[in-house]
């Protein structure tokens, strides 16, 4: 496409053309209206004076007869810049007046007509036009009184010329302005197109130029840049995740393969084969679990699980998880307690249950109290072995928290702990995939909330903070005051 063709195709240029056409139409109709009205006014003025003069002369004719009329006409005809006068006999012969010639037949029609004429005293041989009134006097005489139309014609000429010029100026200025605006816009769009092409080619760090005017193009560029920022962050995240997945799935897969190979090479008895196969199945079950957890996280993070949400009481989830894990905690020498108030939320019950279950499993696994440095007389109090599940409301949020009194997580490690496959030093000896907190965090994010890790002095408080169900907040606030907190 040529540069001009591109220019003509721009929206700015096309809009200019449309405006131009509309403006010219408007100017033309304005001038037309003005001209038409002026013409009407002039015509009206002429007919009023001519009518009056006709009346005057008819009266003179009636009072002083033909002779008086002729004299009066001759008098009037001699005045400078005067009107047209002509008096004819019944057989058409001119008796008095200043008209040299007329278009044929004018004197034959009584009433108003427009005609070309020549004055008797005209030096130039040019025709003029006039508006004339022919009246029939008694005894067959006819009287013509008229006004020259030169004035009207000139006025018309001026208007026409004004129209021509103004339209010309409008068109020239309009097209010029259109080209100017279109070229400016085109230059900026071209710059943006160039950048986007570079970005599409793989350079994700590229950003669109943003001007200082804050106009719509700048806003668009700003928004596109924000979008690119997000895409870049997502891409980086995706790469990190796939690296992690590759690493953490490859390690057990390698182990699996090595075991199978070893069993094939070294096993002699059926029992040995059996043991190797059992280990293989165990290992693949672990892999499947890891894979499921990863899929679940991906699903929660991509927001797909949003379709499966309803309203429910998060306290029921807390009580349910307490009920499920209480014996396990007791087996591990801990005690699991729950404290709830009614806290309605809108969400995916299954995912929230699983997130809370992960937090409780972590607390049971890692939340054992640290033995004091001096062993003598050191009895770990019952309280220190307690894990507390809590469901409560805090302002607009519902907090589902699990508190243990174990070693906790140092503040510097907390952010890190939520990442996928991260297993803090202390936990490496325990079985687990390192995905529990990641899933809890992804579930919280899916519900528009967050996972908070805090200090329980000593110990860890892991809290799923999600928005409370809107609309029931007031009713709920009233309710929580009446209902005593349930402690199990």
């Amino acid at each position: 496409m040529t540069a001009f063709g591109k220019l003509v195709r721009t929206t700015a240029f096309r809009l200019t053309l449309v405006y131009l056409f509309l403006f010219a139409l408007f100017a033309a109709s304005l001038l037309g209206y003005f001209a038409w009205n002026t013409r009407r006014m002039i015509t009206e003025q002429i007919s009023t004076t001519v009518n009056a003069e006709t009346g005057e002369l008819s009266e003179i004719f009636g009072r002083r007869g033909l002779r008086g009329l002729v004299g009066n006409i001759e008098n009037r005809a001699l005045r400078p810049g005067a009107n047209l006068y002509l008096l004819t006999t019944p057989n058409g012969q001119a008796v008095a007046g200043n008209v040299g010639s007329l278009a044929p037949g004018v004197m034959g029609t009584i009433g108003w007509s427009e005609t070309a004429y020549r004055r008797l005293d005209d030096q130039d041989n040019t025709d003029h036009r006039a508006l004339v009134l022919v009246t029939q006097l008694s005894s067959g005489f006819r009287l013509l009184i008229g006004r020259d139309l030169e004035e009207r014609r000139r006025l018309f000429g001026i208007v026409a010329k004004a129209a021509q010029w103004s339209i010309l100026v409008v068109v020239v200025l309009g097209i010029g302005g259109g080209i100017f605006v279109a070229r400016r816009v085109l230059r900026r769009i071209d710059a943006m197109t160039g950048t986007t092409q570079r970005i599409m080619a793989g350079d994700l760090s590229g950003r669109l130029p943003v001007g200082r005017s804050g106009d719509e193009l700048d806003r668009l560029a700003g928004n596109l840049n924000a979008m690119l920022e997000r895409i870049e962050a997502l891409m980086t995240g995706l790469k990190e995740v796939s690296d992690n997945i590759a690493h953490d799935l490859k390690t057990p897969l390698t182990r699996l393969r090595n075991r199978a190979e070893e069993a094939l090479a070294k096993s002699a008895t059926e029992g040995e084969y059996r043991a190797a196969l059992e280990r293989t199945i165990e290992e693949s079950d672990g892999l499947i679990r890891t894979f499921n957890a990863l899929l679940m996280i991906a699903r929660a993070e991509s927001g797909q699980a949003r379709g499966n949400m309803d309203d429910f009481d998060a306290a029921e989830v807390a009580n349910g998880i307490h009920e499920l894990y209480e014996p396990l905690a007791e087996d591990g020498g801990m005690s699991l307690r729950v404290k709830t108030a009614p806290v309605p939320v809108h969400g995916n019950r299954e995912l929230i249950s699983q997130a809370l279950a992960n937090l409780v499993e972590n607390a049971i696994k890692y939340g054992k109290p640290v033995p004091p440095a001096q062993p003598q007389g050191a009895v770990i109090s019952l309280d220190a072995k307690q894990i507390l599940i809590e469901a409560r409301r805090d302002g607009n949020q519902v907090l589902l928290s699990v508190t243990d009194h174990g070693p906790g997580i140092p503040e510097t490690d907390r952010r890190h702990a939520v990442e996928r496959f991260v297993r803090l030093e202390a936990s490496r000896t325990q079985p687990g995939s390192g995905l529990g907190l990641s899933l809890a965090s992804a579930v919280a994010t899916l519900h528009g909330g967050e996972l908070r890790l805090g200090d329980a002095n000593p110990g860890l408080t892991a809290t799923l903070a999600i928005p409370a169900l809107k609309g029931v907040s007031d009713r709920l606030a009233a309710q929580t005051q009446d209902v005593p907190q349930k402690v199990a």
Binding site: I281, S284, D285, I288, R289, N292, L295, M296, R299, Q304, A305, G307, N308, G320, E323, L324, Y325, P327, L328, D331, N348, E350, L351, S353, Q354, A357, N358, E361, I364, K365, P431, G432, S433, G436
Partner: protein, 233 residues
Amino acid sequence: MTATAPDMRLLIIEDDRESADYLVKAFREVGHIADLAGDGEEGLSLAQSGDYDVLVVDRMLPKRDGLSLIGVLREKGNRTPVLILSALGQVDDRIKGLRAGGDDYLPKPYAFAELLARVEVLSRRHGGPAEETTYRVGDLELDRLSHRVARGKDELTLQPREFRLLEYLMKHAGQVVTRTMLLENVWDYHFDPQTNVIDVHISRLRSKIDKGFERPLLHTIRGAGYMIRDGIR
């Protein structure tokens, strides 16, 4: 392994030849009769003509997908229990499958023991007697209306959840129930706990119903799950 239920006639509708052959062989080994269909259309016509106890349907099939197949069957009044196998294992996929008319949903990859246990439970449900108000296994008796549990002359005190756990086990007495089945049916959770949380509940229940009695009733089936049954196998 656990050919405890009477022989069943199964139809397996699965397009992956290798896993289909494996299933047919495995079911035959435990004494069931298994037919095979390789695509949705063939599966539909076989399911309509044959008299099967349970259908095992893969969700993604050539020619006609699993959910639509189940839909057609149910529309025509065929109530044969269906277990859906699917690589899509998420909660909402399960709900979609059950809503389409499936009776159970097992995500791939699965353990055969899990599939077998579920199929046997489904089959019992299909042809079994109406829900009884009292379950009996040996001298253990559970009254579902009064929530009374007794072993011999001894009245047993169970927590509500222990009662529901025992109720589910006794409803399927003589059949293997897996840990996931218990988690799904007794607790209504569909996730996979990383810990042996169910085992702890079972051992508590066991200490209440079996401790101090000569004949244990609640058995652990290695590599599969649990079974309540009178006598040692």
